[in-house]
């Protein structure tokens, strides 16, 4: 590890000013991703600005019935919050499906959104990687990519975003709020992660130096009937090889409202809007669910070793929507 400084920020403007004064500084949330990447030399900040004690640790119901979640709320507290569990059960389930209890106790909402990919080449500084070293190449495409992207990737990078939490937030139209040197700003999560293109090292639309202050979830009655399911290579404590956040409102066998987002398939949590459009107003049947999944996955471009993700994601759509339909009928 390189030498670096450490400072605790007293307040939000103070944190933003500290970072503005030192371009090589980084915010530190729980450190569960950043400290790890510093050990391997992937990240080399000159100064860590610890933001975990900022007063951004509250979860509040908004006037309209949505939720405002502070950036330093720990993953554990987020998953345990009664309002989250009641209004957006898939979000609590997604958070609990990630990492381990010990890690969730440290990890924050802001850090979770900005965690880096788990692509093995990215983590190995002896290997080329366009995301870590622009222009050096992407060895994953011809190499180890069984857990890489099938949607929205490019010839420059095929990495996935590893967050489970982000998948549920994406399904529910979360908006990221942040503080910049010029004042507060808002970014819908749908536009938060940049397209990969030929700049895989540029990951988010967050303005330079911006501190994430929280995430706002608009009210979504449909979210009360929602679930998150994650497929892993072991029963617990592993990153997803496929996942889904789904919410469904069915009346008299007709889909009134539906939310679908996939994890582990793209460089960002993948909102399945084409599938949602195909389903809305139509019958809530297994055939319709499968057809909608196929519509969404028609754009998939699997690599030689990750084609299984197409079938896996399709199966997740059908299984989850079938379960949610039964739950709605009951």
């Amino acid at each position: 590890m390189r030498e670096f400084g450490y400072q605790r920020a007293d307040d939000v403007p103070g944190a933003v000013a500290l970072l503005a004064a030192d371009p090589a500084a980084r915010y530190l949330g729980g450190g569960t991703n950043l400290v790890d990447l510093m050990k391997t030399g992937v990240e080399k900040p000159a100064l860590l600005i610890d933001v975990r004690e900022l007063p951004l640790d509250r979860i509040e119901v908004t006037g309209s019935g949505g939720l405002r979640i502070g950036a330093t709320v720990t993953n554990s507290d987020l998953a345990a919050d009664p309002e989250v569990r009641r209004r957006y059960p898939a979000l609590a389930q997604a958070v609990l499906a990630g990492a381990s209890g010990q890690l969730r106790n440290m990890a924050t909402v802001g850090g979770n959104l900005l965690q880096r990919t788990r692509c093995g080449y990215f983590a190995d500084t002896t290997k080329p990687c366009n995301k870590r070293e622009p222009g050096s190449g992407c060895p994953a495409i011809a190499g180890e990519h069984h857990n890489h992207a099938i949607l929205g990737a490019s010839a420059h990078c095929v990495a996935t975003h590893p967050s489970d939490m982000g998948v549920a937030l994406t399904a529910f139209d979360a908006v990221v709020t942040c503080e910049t040197a010029d004042g507060p700003a808002e970014l819908p999560l749908a536009g938060f992660y940049l397209p990969v293109g030929d700049t895989p090292h540029l990951e988010t639309a967050l303005p330079p130096g911006a501190l994430i202050t929280g995430v706002t979830l608009p009210p979504a009655p449909v979210a009360a009937t929602s679930r998150y399911r994650k497929v892993r290579e072991r029963a617990s404590y592993a990153f997803a090889i496929g996942s889904i956040a789904a919410a469904l409102d069915v009346q008299d066998g007709v889909v009134r409202d539906v939310r679908l987002a996939f994890g582990a398939v793209a460089s960002r949590p993948w909102r399945a809007r084409a599938a949602e459009r195909a389903l809305t107003g139509g019958p809530a049947t297994a055939e319709a669910f499968a057809a909608a999944a196929d519509t969404e996955l028609a754009a998939a471009e699997p690599l030689p070793h990750n084609g299984y993700k197409v079938a896996l994601t399709r199966n997740l759509v059908v299984a989850m929507l079938t379960e949610l339909t039964q739950e709605a009928v009951r």
Binding site: G31, Q102, M106
Partner: protein, 178 residues
């Protein structure tokens, strides 16, 4: 830099800490507390589990500065004047220790599980709950069965002790789960 914190109830100060040091390194190499183990150093095995302000965390991924001014409890801090903690005793009695590298982390995490359940007046955790809470603690020796036995044993003993304290102890109950 200098990092002051409370470790196992004592105020301690570590001098000349390099900002990049992990809490785990400070505990083991500067404060003479080698109980917490450094196995993977990347959050994957849980053998470095310690309490940080009452929540178990992986000390290998906590930067030393993050622990400044906080309360840390390591496996060394669990035993009281009356002897070993119930979880420690149960790990010995159930034969849940082989090489022992995973043991301190498992004991802290199991201690936390029982603190949140039986100690808080709740029911004895079921196997699913035990497995999920211990999912972040890897053991390459035991196959986990004896570890589960140990946690069940500690939970049963604590439940029996609580019942006894409430004046409704039944003889023999302490050994349920053996």
């Amino acid at each position: 830099m200098r990092v002051s914190m409370r470790v196992n109830g004592r105020r301690v100060t570590a001098e000349d800490v390099w900002e990049g040091e992990s809490l785990l390194f400070v505990l083991r190499e500067r404060l003479g507390l080698p109980g917490s183990k450094n196995a993977c150093e990347q959050g994957e095995c849980g053998s470095c589990t310690v309490y940080l302000d009452d929540s178990p965390v992986c000390a290998c991924l906590v930067a030393a500065g993050q622990a400044g001014g906080r309360d840390v409890v390591t496996v060394e801090g669990l035993a009281g004047a009356a002897g070993l903690d119930a979880v420690q005793q149960a790990f010995m009695d159930a034969g849940a220790v082989q090489c022992g590298f995973c043991t301190p982390g498992l004991i802290v995490q199991a201690h936390y599980l029982l603190r949140e359940t039986v100690d808080a007046g709740g029911p004895v955790p079921d196997d699913g709950e035990i497995r999920e809470v211990l999912a972040g603690n890897l053991c390459r020796c035991t196959g986990y069965e004896k570890i589960l036995d140990a946690v069940r044993l500690a939970a049963a003993r604590k439940a029996a002790a609580a019942a006894a304290a409430a004046g409704q102890a039944e003889p023999g109950q302490a050994e349920v789960g053996r």
